[in-house]
Each structure stands twice: as C-alpha cells, then as structure tokens.
Amino acid sequence: MAAPPRLEAADADAAVEQLYAAHWRQLVRLSVLLVHDQAAAEDVVQDAFVAMHGRWSRLRDPDKALAYLRQAVVNRSRSMLRHRVVVDRHARRTTLGDVTVEGPSVGGARRDAVRDALLELSERQREVLVLKHYLDWSEAQIADALGISPGAVKAHAHRGRAALRELLGDWWEDGS
C-alpha cells in the first residue's frame, strides 16, 4: 500500500479531506469485518471522522489522527453491534445472522464461509482476530484498545483461531 500523502495543513478540515482520501476505504473495511453490514460500517467510520475533526486541536498530527480514527472505529463498531443486538432483542427479531452482507456471490463461496464463520465467533474473539491479523496490532495495542488484559488478548486470539479453523474445515487448508 502506498504511503499516505504528507499532511501539510494543521487545519482540521484539511486533515479530514486528506485522511479520508488515504484511509476511508480501509477503515470501512475494518469496520465491516466487525459489524458485517456495509451501510452500518460506513455510518461508523463517518462518525469517527467527525469525532476526529472535533478533536483535531489535541491531535494536530496525521499519525495521531489515524491512530485515533482506528480506535474510534473499533469502539464505535462494538457499540453499534451491541446497540443493534439490543434493538433486535426488544423488537423480537431474529438473530444477528440476519445482518450479514448480501448473499452468496459467484466465486465467493470461501469468502461467504469466512464471513459466516466470523459471525459464529464471540465478539471478543472476532475483535481480537481482526485487530491482530487485519491491522497487525501488537498484543499490547489490542489490550489497550479493548480495555482487557494482554493475557485475555492471548486467550481470545488462541481460542478464536482454533474456532475459526474448526468452523472453516476444508476452506482452512485450501491455500490457493
């Protein structure tokens, strides 16, 4: 991935424009892995950008702003998921499985299998696996972001990985 453009302006508005251009897609993709709904993920990241803008005078730096954005996306994805679960409970709707991305796609059978498997994991396992393997965060960073201990991160990663292997079965071995 190409390096992000250097941020010249210290102004919050310019920061939003430049960070959006460089990171919007990847941040929405991160959120989709956590909330499994593209429209919801776009909402989450939109809110994160607005929040970052409000905080710019304390960030003042593109790297800090990006770190803040990622953190905000992770936090808001989690609350969005919980809020939706609560709403679903109250409305007596069916399970969270209903809010997956659109159905099977041509040539995407393995992708669908992975999506379904991710949904089967516990929220914590999913979060830890995504932060560790998609964002490449360290255990300490993950612990900080999720408000849990590094030991808990290890445990969730281990169990999540095992669960994913089991759920995916043959798809796991297929290395093509």
């Binding site: 897609r25 409000g54 609350s79 919980r82 393995r110």
Partner: protein, 322 residues
C-alpha cells in the same frame, strides 16, 4: 509473513467497495463561526454556533427531588434532531470542586449517549471547567435505559483502576455521569454501571453494585451555574443580553456583572433577589442593555456568597459587537 487468517480476512475485506461519504462528513462538520475558535469535542455532530446561541434556555422552579429542569430549546426550524444537551463538568467553587452545567448543541438521535460521550471524552467549552475522566479509549462503551434504570457500559473496571494516570480523577467524576444522564432523560433515574453486561460492583472506591441515584444536589452542584450566554458568544450592543442560570443562592441573592475581559473595569451590575431556603437550584436572570458598552471582549460573572463567606462564581466570556 502473512498467515492464514490474515489472508482470509483480506479476502472478505477487499471485496467491500465502500460508498462515498465525504459530503456527508463535510456537512456534519458544519460551519465554523468566523473569528473565534468555537469547537465542540468529538463524538457528536457539530451545529453552527449561532444555532446554539439562538437556543433560549429557561428553567422553571424545580421540585426538590427533580434534576435541574430545562425547557425545550426554541425551535430553530432546522433539522429535527438538532438539540441542546446538558453536560456536567467540574469546576472550582468557594466550597471546593463542584459540578457546573454546560449546554452543548448536538445533532444526534441519542442525546443520552451524546451527552455522556461529552463527559467521558469531551472538553468543556468553558475553559474554567474540566471533566474528571481521562480520555482513555474504551472507558465509555455506551448507554441505554432498561426497565427505568440507565445502564452505562464501561471498560473493564480493574484495568481502568490500574491505568496511569487514573481514568477517573475523583468521586465527583461518577456524579458527572449520573447528573448528565438524568438531565439527558429529563428524569431522575438511577444509573447502573455495567461491564460486559454485568453490574460493576465497585467503582473507584465506591459501591456501585446497586443503581446510583446521585448525591444530594446541594452537596455536588456548584452554588451558581450559568446556562446563558454560552462561552464565546457574540452579542450585538443594539440588543439586550439576558443572563440566565440556576443557583442555590445561600444568602438569597445572585450578583451578575459584566466586566471588561482585560482589567477590572465593571461595566454593569445587577442583583437578582431569589429568596432564601433553596434546597434545590432556582433560576435567576439578569438583563442588561448594552448600548453604552464599547465593542470588545467582556466576561459575564455571576456570583453568590455562602454563609461561611465562601464566594463562588461562574463566568462566560463574550464579545460585544457593534
């Protein structure tokens, strides 16, 4: 070295082609008021500062057990979800650290979460206030009302306790959350702190296993707290300025002054006699005509005196324009 899970996650993620939300973000960021750096802390959409200034705050005479009431803001004719939320911050008073109330304009369909986000992560508009919560990510997860109890979801309390610097600086930080939640809901509901769905048994040395109603108002609220004007407001000297606030008025009076920002020259002063025996905050006003005041920066100061002689003030900086 990419491992299997990384590959699989990328396969799912790379298939996502996000829509464009840049225009939506731009419009949510809103219009900055020219000249002054008005800004609201992150977490909620900004509305133009002129809208916030136009919201007329009035408070009725409250019953002793009700939270400080606020009348619905005057209609702006704009987006229905634009509203003012009350946020409680800490400030110094003659009686030690107490809670002051600040109104913030937000665009949200969840005023409870918006207001609490400003408590946990926000920065007060008034530079004399501060929040008792360090902005540690993951401290505040969300809030909702279930069975007439406000459930406030926070991060792992043990980790929050170990964090250095401390996440909550004092017990008053907990009261900030309770009073702000009650104000957002306009109802004195108890607040239950939860983590991972379970009630938190202890929070910073305080028993939190049962829902908390909040400490008595006269022990935690500042003796005087301004609702109007908001910090940084511009006022035309052809108009009158009505200062509004709430107070316990221990000696029955509130004195409001308009003083030049630089120096000590007091341009105007009014005393509102609200009467004695206030166990709950009562509203006060002071109306000033500004025609004689030259344009420039001023500070509005409302002041009360405790029987012990302790003086407490609340201040707002304003700019008078021609």
């Amino acid at each position: 070295m990419r491992d299997r899970i990384t590959d699989l996650l990328h396969e799912v993620a790379d298939d996502v082609e996000p829509g464009d939300r840049l225009d939506a973000i731009r419009s949510e960021i809103g219009v900055r008021r020219p000249g002054r750096g008005w800004w609201a802390a992150g977490g909620v959409g900004l509305v133009a500062a002129s809208v916030v200034a136009a919201l007329a705050m009035t408070t009725g005479a409250p019953a002793p057990t009700e939270p400080q009431p606020v009348a619905p803001p005057a209609s702006t004719g704009a987006d229905a979800a634009t509203q003012a939320v009350a946020v409680y911050y800490q400030g110094d008073t003659g009686l030690g650290l107490r809670l002051y109330r600040e109104f913030r304009g937000v665009r949200t369909d969840d005023p409870l979460t918006a207001a609490l986000t400003l408590v946990f992560e926000g920065t007060p508009a008034d530079p004399d206030y501060r929040t008792g919560w360090a902005p540690v990510p993951g401290t505040f997860v969300g809030a909702e009302v279930v069975d007439d109890v406000v459930r406030v979801e926070i991060g792992d309390p043990e980790l929050l306790l170990e964090h250095d610097p401390p996440v909550a600086q004092n017990a008053l930080a907990i009261e900030q959350v309770i009073f702000t939640a009650q104000a957002a809901l306009q109802e004195r509901l108890p607040v239950q702190f939860v983590h991972d769905g379970e009630p938190v048994s202890e929070l910073f040395g305080r028993d939190a296993s049962e829902p908390l109603l909040g400490a008595p108002q006269d022990e935690v609220l500042a003796p005087v707290s301004l609702s109007d004007p908001s910090e940084g407001r511009e006022v035309d000297n052809d108009e009158s300025l009505t200062v509004r606030g709430t107070t316990f008025a221990p000696d029955g009076t509130v004195t409001t002054r308009i003083r030049r920002w630089e120096g000590t020259f007091v341009a105007a002063e009014k005393v509102d006699r609200v009467g004695l025996g206030n166990e709950a905050p009562v509203s006060f006003t002071a109306t000033f005509t500004l025609g004689e005041l030259p344009p420039g920066d001023y500070v509005v100061i409302s002041e009360v005196t405790d029987p012990s002689g302790a003086v407490t003030t609340d201040t707002r900086r304003i700019t008078i324009v021609d």
